[in-house]
Symmetry: D3
Subunit: 334 residues, 6 copies
């Protein structure tokens, strides 16, 4: 017997103050994976930072984002989207995986997301470092290369690190393109900046057809203009939004692995996210919140709020496009 729709509501702050109770995402009910079919959108944590090349700590991201998400309320104040009226949403917990062992972790995440995908559920994931997006894609791509709007200071399309490590948080999108999971021609990266190892660092991305919008261009153009371009690039095919908090200036998100000054404001990022309403979204994530480097929880609060922005987009997609087809699928990509 399915759960009552009233079940899928956040704990009411008028009954239990925000600092009380267990910190699930958005104070939503907790379900376990056996109940995945009950939901339309799953909030999920991927506590893993084995791909991090400098400052670890993103493994603690899901817990602190959950904590700060207690500040989220029920209705978006600009778009008026009320996600819990549009879709059944719950916290499905964290993927279980050890802190080290790249191959083990990649396989565990992929397997987990394959179950999510097979249930027809849109996942909204909280990392974890940015390497997590690769196995999420492997799990949900269903043989079709996804489009992506990618907020980040870094293109994350390097080839390898440390003498051949192919899987780090600086390489996921090179791998995703190579594996046919990500359609570079339907991919736009926003906010890219910071000194580079080599003038050729972006050559792969550019050659593949990824549209790289550096931070300087973000600052110089209007939000409307940027959005028009981004929407045109990703089009109406299945797409994904990946939000690395280091797209923001470190004053907003100091708790991250590879901060770069001169970044976006939270308000700019929120405007951009809101402008993506209507895309054919099959999932989204917020990554690179690293609590040990955070100060006063501000980065986790940013992560939680951006997750709420994304949740509204996913709920809108669910309401307008329906649940994803719940069919067993074969491989990650052709």
């Amino acid at each position: 017997m399915p759960l009552d729709p009233s079940f899928f509501q956040p704990q009411d702050a008028a009954q239990l103050p925000r600092y009380a109770g267990l910190p699930t995402f958005m104070r939503l009910p907790m379900l376990d994976m056996a109940q995945i079919a009950e939901v339309d959108i799953a909030l999920l944590g991927i506590p893993w930072d084995a791909g991090t090349t400098h400052r670890a700590g993103a493994r603690h991201g899901p817990r602190e984002v959950r904590n700060q998400s207690a500040l989220m309320r029920k209705v978006h104040h600009v778009s008026r989207i009320a996600p819990y009226d549009l879709a059944r949403v719950a916290d499905l917990g964290d993927v279980a995986l050890p802190p080290s062992g790249i191959e083990i972790g990649l396989a565990a995440i992929e397997a987990f997301y394959r179950r999510v995908s097979e249930a027809g559920v849109r996942p909204l994931s909280v990392g974890g470092d940015h390497l997590i997006t690769l196995p999420v894609f492997r799990g949900i791509a269903r043989g079709t290369a996804l489009g992506m709007v990618h907020f980040d200071a870094h293109s994350d399309t390097n080839d390898s690190y440390f003498g051949g490590q192919k899987y780090t948080h600086g390489t996921p999108f090179r791998r995703a393109v190579e594996e046919g999971l990500l359609d570079p021609k339907r991919t736009v990266q926003i906010g890219i900046r910071g000194s580079v190892y080599d003038p050729a660092d972006l050559d792969f991305a550019l050659a593949a057809g990824i549209r790289v919008i550096p931070m300087e261009e973000v600052a110089a153009r209007s939000t409307e203009d940027l959005l028009a371009e981004a929407r045109a690039i990703v089009g109406d095919a299945p797409s994904y939004i990946s939000f690395d908090v280091d797209c923001l200036d470190p004053c907003y998100a100091p708790g991250t692995g590879t901060p770069e000054i001169g970044g976006m404001t939270t308000l700019q990022a929120q405007h951009l996210l809101r402008g993506l309403q209507g895309l054919n979204l099959v999932g989204a994530d917020v990554v690179e919140v690293s609590p040990p480097f955070d100060v006063g929880g501000v980065t986790a609060l940013v992560g939680a709020t951006m997750a709420f922005e994304l949740l509204c987009l996913l709920a809108d997609a669910h309401a307008n496009r329906g649940r994803l087809p719940a069919a067993a699928v074969e491989g990650g990509a052709a």
Copy 2:
């Protein structure tokens, strides 16, 4: 015998470094309430957070704002207002009130401000959470509903919390309108944002005639435009400015009870405050600085600087409009 005008000057940093001596507001002399008639403008602390619904700590606000106010100098660098040349200003200390007991606290603050008002003194208050503004209004309104320019992320016009609590930091302006202390038609709220409990959250404010300017509108319009509207709304009748530091983005003011990302910059807020010069101001406050959640004292420094901005406005009002009439008054509002 009145105190010599030279008395009302900040401690000279060339004599005593900023880190030395007692941290009064702006390094001004300390008077006690028996001497209230000696001043034109009173700097006051209200160390109280009994109205806070989530993260307490604003009770420690006055102390840390005093500490950081040691960095303030004597003349405003843009408006050229020299407040200590225009008015007699002193630190009158903190309102004495226990940390809990809503009714006791409301009554104590009201009684205290009645004395301030009866002396014809303009108060500049440092909270404490935003509930303090309600009893301040009760003390100073003198039977006339005030106009207000209200900087905040939240409208603070909810009806009640936790099953009927009418007095919290989320409700003061609903109460103030109901009690005839605040004229909603002469009230403008600037910077409102953040997810809401219910789509109807702002219905009371809007129905009452309060002009709510959401953050998105602040970002989209020019300062001059916003100021023209705000000044037109409040007009020339007695008015008040209430500055909740959560109107600012948390990167400027992490130390607050209910942070909302995507807020104003300090420079935007300063431009707006400066543009309010000339209003018929009878008082002002800075609220919701919560030191236990601050990092590196930055929020307290913001609070101190905004208090200096407000002090310049009040000194200008005193210089141009004279001292408030020092007459015993009967009730808070008709």
Copy 3:
């Protein structure tokens, strides 16, 4: 159908790392109050600091203690007590109550604990400030004055604060004695120290027959000697252990409302707690963990570990004395 005993086991860290998953107390399963009869010992949070006279923040205590309790394992390394083999233990969540309103809060806690008591369950509570112990006593005393071993820097037997406030975290045990909930002759307070308001501050406690062991005596006597005295005082009648983290030196527990230097070491406190094995315990608590004043989570870790020490004592009491009688009871005390 009762839950399977295997249900009442902490999440295995070999399956899910300690930083992953929801932070229930000790990584135990979460039940709601409707299932209270399923457990022998209930871990409970009371997120409330309305009784605090100086630095608030203990309302955030349960959440951070839960977070740090992820470091606890399954078996006590000295006593060899394996609590989850001896008793069914679960996290029953937090008492729902608003942050302010002393009377409301006292009533809500009492009502909640009355249900716990009526189910025959031993509660292990995490505060919250020390005022919480009073309504807990009201809920569980069942008409008999309890004995108590009380770890604290302060006797908490003052009469009132702020001109008549009878209910603060400095008064619970005066009230408990007055109400017949606490038997002063079976009460021992350990670690008392710090300057006093008045030489008569302890007169009530001493006159009532409470044995006050100041910190200086703790330092001078052997643990065995202290334990022998403490055990003799409380005897074999129903008793309670209340552990205020400010009994410890602030180097171990900086995150608390009223720190006093010159306190116990954690190891001393652990030795004392372990030596209380065998008492006729009907409940216990850990209070005054105030996360906003903590540094690096050390106080919350201390709170979590002391909660584990207490859990072992309660599990042992359950194993040796059986479940408390689950009978409806009338009033708090005769």
Copy 4:
């Protein structure tokens, strides 16, 4: 007309909570130096760290010690000394002096303390780095070499630093001996430890006759034994206690300029201080609290509590030996 004895009482926490009001030392009234004759004991701040060789910040010491001293109450819980019943005590503010300029600072402090001394007042000073004790001695020694009980990790009897700098926080007591201000044969240093620049580092101190008790000896002997020796050394002639917070282990006092692990506990230090009751004390100080390096204010709280311990000793000396003779004096030492 002298001030009423009732004037010299701390602000009552039952009237005004500890976080409210101006943070004078111990919440005592503030007087200015023109009123020095009104008091028996003066609490004074010396916000100066020009003598610091590594981590500066002790200039901020007086302010934070004042803040934390709000936690002190009125009566010592062990000695039962009630200082405000025995002596008129007030906060006389901070010595005014610029942050740099060694000679200027030394002269300003000496001149200030000469006035204190000439008024017959016992000073209790809060630094500042340890260099401050030298000019304090110059101001109060009155031609007689003082005895001293000196708590510290370091002997502070080096000759010079940085190629000839004679006045640093590592040299004050060499200078004081050379200038005849300190009687090395009546001087005992307690808690000395830490690696040394040269095996001969202590040669001057030992040759001069200073009794150096290393930390290892403090740990090995009983408090009573140590006190008997210390009291015998300083005898009954005019003496001083200088308490450098780095005598404590950094876990108690991380906020200091030159921390050394393996130090005293606060309780050990308190026992030692209490055991010095009855000495012929003419002054005392607490130095090297460096707030920028503190965590959670713990070091400032230690500084405030040790200042209260010292205040009790000075009040007892005043009660038993009377006020110091208030006579103009010529030089610092013969």
Copy 5:
């Protein structure tokens, strides 16, 4: 035998992760001053804060900026300048000087920079407080008054502090003008703001012909417009860029001695710096990073990144204008 050009490359992060190895500036090789002739551009630390009037700590600046500079890579992502391909750059260590003693420090810095200048090397210095720029000028000016683009919240052209102290971090540019080291007519100060001691505070600067661009003007005009004016002012004669991190809003640079809210964004500052490419630069500095007041290292990261921006400008100047003439010079200025 000169060092091989391949020597002057940063440690490769693909070989040794950024957190490993010694933290030299930009992970460059370390040389000592005897090897100064080997380099074209020297990265230097001046760990000195004796000129600081409020919060010290900039003495620790070079170490933390070095730490955070490990995040810098090799090529500028906007200008495409690859500094290590254009010039031989190395870390030449810190100037050795004691923490106090203004005259000693000024002389030591001047002597050190005279050696740098005589070798024909462009220095890029990391302070230390802003007083350091005066002796740097004395060392490198070579008899010609320099032009300067000066980023700061403060004009630093006060006359004296504390009753006659001529050398503080608030006075270096008055001294530099007086000594003929700085050409006020070729000097532009950008970002000036904050309350002033006296309406006449800027009179010296303005009378001397310095162009003071207050923050309000920075906010109101376009970057291109500002740059056109700045470039016109400094012209093509030898010039210097001095970057005080307090030009930035404290949200970007909380770790500084005299923060002023309402400042520049890092992105604005970066755009301005990049627009200065092509100036006839003889040196540059980043000052006022004060790690003890920093939170999460964000200010040191800003300092490191701005140093990289400046390095690109200096490398470009070297590539286009050649090495400075390596000739012995007599005095600082005519």
Copy 6:
């Protein structure tokens, strides 16, 4: 031509203050591995935390321990050992290895230490998490099982984690025993405590013959007694000291991966280390300093000071037993 003995001296703090210059270990000169034969004792960093099961961050340990080691001076104040007079000591840098990849890291460390060992040099290593000790043993054991004095809260002799991971910081000594690198009968573990996963957790260690001294026994016995036992166990054959900072109470070492309350004091640990003078030491390490979880650098200072204690022991061993034989060796152990 060998380096002059005067080369191997720490940078003189009288020339260059402690906060200045590059932070090598103990301010010693830096050599690279090609010069390993020049030294008798090598200070080495192993920035690696791939074995950590809960809170990562020990990869940043070497950098922060180097920073804090600037506070170390030249001569031990108790043992009077002057290590730089007894042996040539230098900082040989960090082992280069990527942050993830267990097998790669183990191999890189082993290879590095094989070179150290073949040069006849005693290594003093700073981790990194405790897994590093295993490959160090593989590199230096030279076919003989070492004895060990092991300071730790945990035995680190578990078999595996997370479903079969054999190499974590909880398993190194099980592996070392299995591989014949560690002689369990000559191994003593001191300070073991904390709840356990299973009553059988220590069965392997005990069965193998390791002497496990729990913290409770450390607290109950005299230092002399403990040392006598420890020295008897390890005997005079080649031995190693491994110091995990979590042997200390978290109040001394909060910055660590798996804190356990109720631990040793720093002074206890220092006494124990000093009592190990004379052992036949072939190396030592300090591990588990995790700077992201540290507060105020206290843990890194503890790490640096314990490294100095160990350095004195190694220098003494060198002076009395001579350099280790510098011969090429085949395998890690028979």
